[in-house]
């Protein structure tokens, strides 16, 4: 096998120096000289490659999996808790935007549990009648 470089760690470079789970809530995440210069964090605020730990599944997510006829989290494996403008948030691909977690909600102390929380909240939001897609569907559905 031909290789072109040395082994890369699981964590993306932009997150390697992040030790505190609340780093992106407590700070703006401007850690490197370049980030300070341009005034924005470079890269994701979470590890997109982190696979779920199934021992941490919540009862809600188990019911969702059962309803859909899936044996695992399926598309939710790609959902993680991220941070947007100092607030915990989840990216909703259906509206192409961040949905902010209520400020008074206590966040777990580890990323795996935070990701499970994010998945649960996202399902509740996407399946809600007040989701923006409901209006879009009314306006633009073809059949």
């Amino acid at each position: 096998m031909a290789t072109t470089g040395k082994a890369a760690p699981t964590q993306p470079k932009s997150l390697e120096s992040v030790k505190d789970i609340d780093h992106f809530i407590k700070t703006e995440g401007l850690d490197t000289a370049r980030e300070k210069e341009i005034g924005q964090h470079i890269g994701y605020r979470y590890d997109v490659n982190l696979v779920p730990d199934y021992s941490r599944l919540t009862p809600f997510l188990k019911t969702y999996m059962e309803t859909m006829g899936w044996d695992d989290l399926n598309w939710l494996e790609d959902v993680h808790l991220g941070y947007e403008e100092g607030r915990a948030a989840v990216f909703d691909r259906n509206i192409n935007g961040w949905v902010t977690v209520p400020e008074n909600m206590k966040l777990p102390d580890n990323q795996q549990d935070r990701d499970m929380l994010a998945r649960e909240l996202l399902i509740k939001f996407q399946m809600s009648k007040r989701h923006p897609m409901v209006d879009l569907r009314k306006a633009y559905k073809k059949f």
Partner: protein
Amino acid sequence: MKQHISHEMGMHTEQLAGRTQQRFFSPEEEENFVYPGSFDVDFNKRTELDAGPLDAKQINLKLRELMSQGYGTIVLKNPGAKHGVAVGILNRLQLYIEGSLGYFGCGLIDGPNIRIKGRVGWSCGENMMAGTIIVEKNAGSTFGAALRGGDLVCLGDVGARTGIDMKGGTIIVGGRTGAFSGFMMQRGRMVVLGDAGKNLGDSMYDGTIYVGGKIADLGVDAVPGEMTDLDVAWLNRKLKLYGLETPNGVENMTKIVAGKKLWNYDNLEPSEKKIVL
């Protein structure tokens, strides 16, 4: 001229200037597990559909009609390798296709579980959002192109550019995959139990590729990654779901990730941001 309903709903009155909306979760949200407006189907209510005399549009409309009648399990017979069959299903459903599909089969789906007894042509599961697709034989090129989520499984071999531009989800190949697999991959996971062709993971920005066989060579900015215990547990679990195993054990698979040398956002985004501000 009658205006579109979106005008009546006031969707064009808002002055767009950068970020104009903020969305928040409501803790009082009622618990629903399916999209509002989706068909209420029962997996135990089963029917068959003979696709032989129908064209692709008629097949897709018939599938929709059956779902609206509450059928949660549909067996599609005689698909005849027609193109664009079983696309745009945004519903929970168990669909069994007894035969082969042509191009762009099962694209743009969000939710159903589909099992295909035969082969599939180009771009099976293209832009798939959620659900599972299992292809029992071989698949053509660009298998899972622009995949967004869900599990796309081929028990046989697949062609070139598998998972091109994939943005999420999992592609599993039981056999071999062709050249440029994982090209411009942005996230998600690809698991290849056999050999991978040339330029694997070329220009990938993120995501993970696991290979059980030999890799002809790696593309630009694709580098070996460290296999973690979490990766091993996830791989064991996922492969077991589809009755697959790798001859040398998942611990010995090669993990490929992005070297992140192509990340030039810091050069581009500040100028964009200034323009917006």
